[in-house]
């Protein structure tokens, strides 16, 4: 199974997970951690334990709130050290819903492109600019 770890400052990760449960229900392969207070190396160890203890041999997407932030930094180290771990920054609810509804339909590499495309498409403006 492919897994998804939401990793954020504050309660963004848990709030996204809660929101997704109201829309598409509960999924056992979606996890939420926050990166506050604890030192980065302890967060790294917590994620490494998750990968080793859960059934995630098909891959893990780590969805982080902010490119350049601590979550992203730690996720980059995990991606360096473990096979089939991809980090996507700028998480939004659409990316998470896309993961939940599509992760059984694509392989790991295809899914990465799908998630980024769906996340980008979710950002829009009304009314369109210039009108």
């Amino acid at each position: 199974m492919i897994g998804c770890l939401l990793l954020s400052h504050g309660s963004v990760a848990q709030a996204l997970l809660d929101a997704s449960r109201k829309i598409v229900g509960e999924w056992p392969n979606v996890y939420a951690f926050d990166c506050d207070q604890v030192a980065a190396n302890l967060l790294y160890e917590k994620i490494a334990r998750l990968i080793e203890s859960e059934n995630l041999q098909d891959g893990l997407f780590i969805l982080v709130c902010l490119r350049g932030g601590t979550c992203w930094n730690v996720a980059a180290r995990i991606s360096r050290d473990f096979q089939k771990v991809a980090v996507i920054s700028g998480v939004n609810l659409s990316i998470l819903l896309s993961f939940i509804t599509k992760h059984t339909k694509f392989d790991f590499n295809e899914l990465a492109a799908v998630l980024i495309e769906d996340g980008r498409r979710a950002i829009s403006q009304l009314p369109p600019s210039g009108e």
């Binding site: 400052h9 030192a39 980065a40 902010l66 490119r67 350049g68 930094n73």
Partner: protein, 159 residues
């Protein structure tokens, strides 16, 4: 050259620094001073990516002290980030003059005790802070720009 801020933060270049402080300080040059990180190409690239568009150098203590005491950064605003008070002591040992250091984040590790929400220290950290005070460096605790500056010496019972 003006050293706008020396920040102790074990997360080094991250959200609070790039999204929080840089738009307030507008540094011409961001320096990450850390011997271990400066010796690893992978780490250097990671932190340069994290700094987004800000001009960034990742340097050892020796390189940082030399750069800051030379003419290269004349007329530039510099923002220095280090992981530990021990790094600041080593910069002083190499001749750098500093009047103030801001502690922005020393996060929880086993064996460290809580000072406030963003500062956790052990006895070695406390000794280092005491030494910095003896050497005339004021210590301020402040994680983000909107945080009220806290007198860290008082908070640590060093006054």
């Amino acid at each position: 050259m003006a050293i706008e801020m020396v920040r102790i933060d074990d997360r080094l270049i991250h959200g609070q620094v790039v999204a929080g402080w840089c738009p307030v300080i507008h540094p011409d040059h961001l320096i990450l001073c850390d011997d271990d990180i400066a010796s690893s190409d992978w780490e250097c690239q990671l932190y340069k990516d994290a700094a987004l568009d800000y001009e960034t150098s990742i340097l050892t203590v020796a390189e940082t002290a030399e750069l800051l005491q030379g003419p290269t950064l004349d007329s530039q605003k510099v923002f220095i980030v280090v992981a530990s008070p021990r790094t600041v002591i080593r910069l002083l040992d190499r001749g750098l003059q500093l009047s103030r250091v801001v502690v922005g984040g020393m996060h929880f590790q086993p064996g460290k005790r809580r000072i406030n929400d963003f500062i956790f220290i052990d006895d070695d950290d406390l000794k280092s802070f005491a030494l910095l005070l003896q050497r005339g460096v004021a210590l301020e605790a402040k994680d983000v720009p909107t945080c009220k500056a806290i007198d860290l010496a008082a908070l640590l019972g060093l006054k």
